[in-house]
């Protein structure tokens, strides 16, 4: 069963860390280790960091016309900052991996079962 691990946090904190090379180095080292652990356990299916919401573009199609606007779909206090896709037997295992995510300290991780995919549609 595939689950998406969605990482939410205040992106202002990410920005602050960007100005502190030592903190940033530590953070990426933790994520690298996390990724390696998931790969070693054979559960990792994909994942990525997302650039800040200031770089986001929201797209809608209205009357056949593509309308874009600058910014994320919704302004929220915490933003989606990255994700992983993992393949584990059940929710308990997915929660265990979510809890090991370095961003779980101070941020929130949403765990969502994956439905149909382009390959299974």
């Amino acid at each position: 069963m595939q689950y998406m691990i969605l990482i939410y946090g205040d992106e202002k904190n990410f920005a602050m860390r960007a100005n502190n090379p030592e903190a940033q180095k530590q953070m990426y080292a933790a994520f690298k280790q996390y990724g390696e652990d998931m790969r070693a356990a054979g559960v990792l299916r994909g994942g990525a960091e997302l650039k800040p919401t200031s770089t986001a573009t929201t797209v809608r199609v209205k009357n056949g016309k593509t309308v874009t606007h600058d910014g994320p779909f919704a302004e929220t206090k915490e933003q989606l900052g990255g994700y992983y896709t993992i393949d584990v037997p059940n929710l308990d295992d997915a929660v265990k991996w979510a809890a090991r995510c370095p961003a779980a300290q101070g941020g929130s991780i949403e765990v969502r079962p994956v439905g149909l995919t382009p390959d299974t549609l």
Partner: protein, 413 residues
Amino acid sequence: MPTLVIDSICRSEGARVLAGLIRRFGDFDLAEDALQDAFAKAIEVWPTQGLPTVPAAWLTTVAQRRVLDLLRRRQSGPFYTDEPPDIAAPEWDAGDSQPADQSGVEDDRLRLLFTCCHPALAQPAQIALSLRTLCGLSTREIARAFLEPEATTAQRLVRVKRKILEARIPYEVPNREILPERLQVVLSVVYLVFNEGYAATDTPGLLRPDLCAEAVRLGRLVVELMPQEPEARGLLALMLLQDSRRDTRVGSDGAIVPLEEQDRARWNRDAIVDGLVQLDAALAIRQRGPYQLQAAIAALHAKSARAEDTDWQQISALYIGLLREQPSAVVELNAAVAHAMAEGLESGLDWINQLTEREELSSYYLLPAAKADLLRRLGRYSDAREAYCAAIVLVQNPAERKYLEKRLATCRD
């Protein structure tokens, strides 16, 4: 055989059968539908053919056939009809023999318990699903118990079952490493059901199912399935001891009767004995916890023939222990009251006055009520009146308000 007897057998065996069906077929709805049909079949044939030796095995056999039948219908597409199922009752021998995999039957109910109380489910959903599957309450009965529209409960049950299925919440007993925290969730669900039932006794005249009895049933099931867990026994003891006082809690005028004025002769002796036995068994495991401590406090009250015989010294010590295990402002308030009774009203009052700063208690009516009670005992009636009035502003429950108003009226200089 009267239908009532069949109903009660179905109810007592239902959870066992249902739990096994869910494990085999992995689908709550399918299992529930099949079990309902098996009950209907039992009502049809048991009166003429007699009770099978092992009703659970009989029901399992019938329900399993029904599941296969339902699955076949689902596969054959849109020709589904609502016509009553025509399922054959098992041969009498088949019903009498044990189901093929009798081993693990107890584990099935345990699996069901932990799945219903999975921490990824919302608390009202945990409660509703436990009452539905483990206690066999109908959706209507659950709705009535929680004073909500039946559609709301039905929707809650649909959603929770969908989440279990789609998020793949495992149908298993948690491993040793996470068992303690998961057991805490199970016990808290059981105690919430009990407290809901206890509060409901204050509002007579409403036809609510007896949630206290259901909670005790659930508590017994947990103890039966996990006899080595002292806190499970502690909770069962606590519920039994509290429940023993149920009939004396509210007076004929509809006001709460405080512990010291309750008619102790009317306390339920059987429940007290049962509770004390459970508590002793829990304490023998020598691994204390909050439910055992609360049960021990309730036991000291239960053992005092008269209010003035109450061993407040010990109760006060137990509250200090509870405060260490479960530090919260509410527990501290109880500790302060016990301290007042054991060590002197003035010093208890000092402690309570310190608690008025605590934000968690800012709208908790029992804080000014406790203060008022101590002031009244000290004969400081004008201060007591002020505190009673503060409590009356905050209290929600009509029976508790009535009690406070009665007390207020007695505080005259």
